[in-house]
């Protein structure tokens, strides 16, 4: 029973982890159809922000919840203004340019901080015990934050003026523009929000994973697989794909080993896309956000 509870917690944490690393991408890709291959590097920058800030004496909570999203969000706005703006509607070129951006960020951070792991920080929670098993309290906290993040994005896009305008622009940019919406501003705001979410996730994961200039490569594959398997409805899609892939990953990882868990995740996603090329929400929950 204790084993079961510990395993369940581990699987739920795996799901929350997938949600966290892919939600920023889901906003940018799902809303704007912009493939951001520098997504992993946004997470990496969030991690570095938290580490640098805490090493300079900033409270870890402020670093995680204010500094990381703020700074990466601003970087996102700059990127949108300098690069993405020229490439709307040219999906393949965006893909290539953001890949260039990803390499650029890796190179930049390596030049500044060196290729090795920067000073790590420890998670601000101790361990919790379930019977004979112990688990990290921080993971429990991240599960909570993942749920909160999904709820926040839902509320933002469902019930605010900004969300309404953003959804309208995504459905018909010309129509929105003729109704007086500055579509350019909507695009940059959405991109900024996506980047900020990525920064937040990167900052939150920094105590667990540590930070490396090349750590984005670990996230990018999983994040894209999750978002693409999810399909067009960004929140329902990301959530359902995270649950499915995270659960399979967790179970296979427990039975066979962590490497096989990742392989199972990938194979499942490929088979899933063969059966449902539009992603999960192409067939189920079509009308959700």
């Amino acid at each position: 029973m204790d084993l079961f509870a510990a395993l369940a917690l581990q699987i739920i944490y795996g799901i929350a982890n997938l949600v966290l690393i892919s939600i920023g991408l889901a906003v940018i890709f799902g809303m704007m159809r912009v493939i951001n291959l520098a997504h992993g590097e946004f997470l990496m920058l969030g991690g570095y922000t938290v580490i640098v800030a805490t090493n300079n004496g900033v409270n870890i909570w402020i670093a995680m919840f204010i500094f990381a999203p703020l700074i990466v969000g601003i970087i996102g706005l700059i990127v949108e203004w300098c690069l993405i703006r020229f490439l709307y509607g040219r999906m393949v070129d965006t893909l290539l340019a953001t890949w260039g951006l990803s390499l650029f960020f890796i190179g930049l951070i390596t030049t500044i901080f060196g290729a090795q792991t920067a000073t790590t920080i420890s998670p601000p929670f101790g361990a919790i015990t379930i019977g004979d098993y112990s688990s990290s309290g921080y993971e429990l906290f991240l599960i909570f934050i993942a749920i909160l993040a999904v709820a926040l994005v839902y509320l933002l896009f469902r019930y605010t003026k900004l969300g309404l305008v953003a959804r309208g622009t995504m459905q018909g940019a010309d129509m929105a523009a003729s109704l007086g919406v500055s579509t350019q501003r909507v695009y940059s705001t959405t991109f900024g929000i996506g980047a900020a979410l990525s920064g937040l996730a990167g900052g939150l994961l920094a105590p667990i994973t540590g930070v490396l200039p090349t750590i984005g490569a670990i996230y990018i594959g999983k994040a894209f697989i999750t978002v693409i398997s999810g399909g067009t409805a960004i929140l329902a899609g990301t959530a359902s794909a995270s649950i499915l892939l995270g659960a399979v990953n967790g179970i296979v990882a427990f039975v066979v080993g962590p490497t096989m868990g990742e392989v199972a995740l990938l194979l499942l996603a490929i088979v899933l896309l063969r059966l449902m090329p539009q992603g999960i929400t192409g067939r189920f929950f079509k009308r959700s956000l």
Partner: protein, 353 residues
């Protein structure tokens, strides 16, 4: 006119190839020959991506997967077979089979270009993390230990069906260069054939081609499989020139490099990607020695600049520039001739050009 120019350029590429084939080992020292062999193996990879992306419209971000699979399959087969002849054939087949299986799921699932790019990239990255974790002695295929991130020591190529006669590194160069030339002219032939023309029309307009009665899924799958086989061949040559194959062939950096070669060289040409690979190989190894600029930083900027400013790539842009200059010169010449004859029909001549 256009056709004769194509034939001329093919003949000159063949001649330059033969000059390098016979000239390089005579004029260069051993170290340069070995590094040229590595560059050539990468050029074969670039060629395969140039074929499937430039002529099939298949944006594969993980072409290095088949390159690496080819290298690994060669190493494992050569160790198990005790000779390289069968191993080369087996490795090319394994790489082609891997491409065919992955391609089946992607093309018959009708994934569009961007999704396809991400899936192929993810496959590569997963291979990277899987093979990195195979360092224990329990991970072996036959007698070949996979060796985790230390990789496998690759036995050198031997004379066909004579496993006792190993080739020296300078002879491996000949094999690699011949492989590149063969692969290049195979690709040229393929793109000129009926099959290649159907693939180009799929690249231009999928729906229209399908309405003309072609099964685009099948054509794409064939193209992808051929691309995988050529990339696998490149991987075999790479493993031989380095003498070792490690999981690093699957990492993000190399996957990006392959794309950058094709972008720089020029999509829609076959010689462009080969040039791109050779230029960038020497440029990055030069920058690596200098240790002034971080290579990732440099490559990232190059990729961004090319996408924004020179989206066609070097070779097509140069050809265009050359044509424009030539036509301007011809216009000027004919204009002079006209003036000498006392006529002023310059405008019309320009229109004709």
């Amino acid at each position: 006119m256009k056709r004769s120019r194509e034939i001329n350029s093919l003949i000159s590429i063949g001649i330059v190839g033969l000059i390098i084939l016979f000239g390089a080992p005579l004029s260069l020292d051993l170290f340069s020959v070995i590094s040229l062999t590595t560059a050539i193996s990468l050029a074969i990879l670039a060629l395969s991506l140039g074929l499937i992306w430039g002529f099939g419209g298949i944006l594969c971000f993980g072409q290095t997967a088949f390159f690496g699979i080819g290298g690994y399959a060669y190493a494992i087969a050569a160790l198990n077979f005790g000779g390289s002849t069968g191993a080369i054939i087996a490795a090319v087949l394994v790489a082609a089979a891997a491409a065919a299986i992955l391609g089946y799921f992607m093309f018959y699932g009708r994934l569009s270009d961007v999704y396809l790019a991400v899936i192929t990239l993810t496959v590569t990255l997963i291979l990277y993390s899987v093979i990195r974790r195979t360092s224990g002695p329990e991970y072996k295929i036959g007698i070949a230990k996979l060796g985790g991130f230390n990789g496998i020591n690759v036995p050198p190529i031997n004379y066909p069906w004579d496993a006792t006669q190993f080739l020296y590194p300078e002879h491996v160069f000949y094999v690699a260069m011949v492989a590149l030339l063969l692969a290049y002219f195979l690709c040229v032939w393929l793109t000129k054939s009926h099959f290649g023309r159907v693939c180009v029309s799929i690249r231009e307009n999928e729906v229209r081609t399908e309405l003309l009665g072609y099964d685009i899924r099948f054509y794409k799958l064939c193209m992808f499989t051929v691309g995988g086989a050529i990339a696998g061949l490149g991987g075999i040559m790479f493993a031989n020139s380095i003498g070792r194959i490690t999981p690093d062939v699957f990492n993000l950096y190399n996957a990006a490099l392959a794309i950058i070669w094709v972008i720089i060289g020029g999509r829609g040409t076959l010689i462009g990607p080969v040039f791109g690979a050779l230029i960038l190989f020497y440029l990055t190894s030069f920058l690596g020695r200098q240790a002034v600029v971080n290579i990732n930083l440099f490559l990232g900027l190059v990729l961004i600049v090319f996408v924004l400013v020179v989206p066609k790539g070097i070779v097509p842009s140069l050809v265009e520039l050359w044509d424009r200059r030539k036509s301007r010169r011809m216009t000027a010449r004919s204009a002079r001739r006209m003036r000498r004859r006392g006529r002023s029909r310059v405008k019309e001549v320009q229109v004709e050009d």
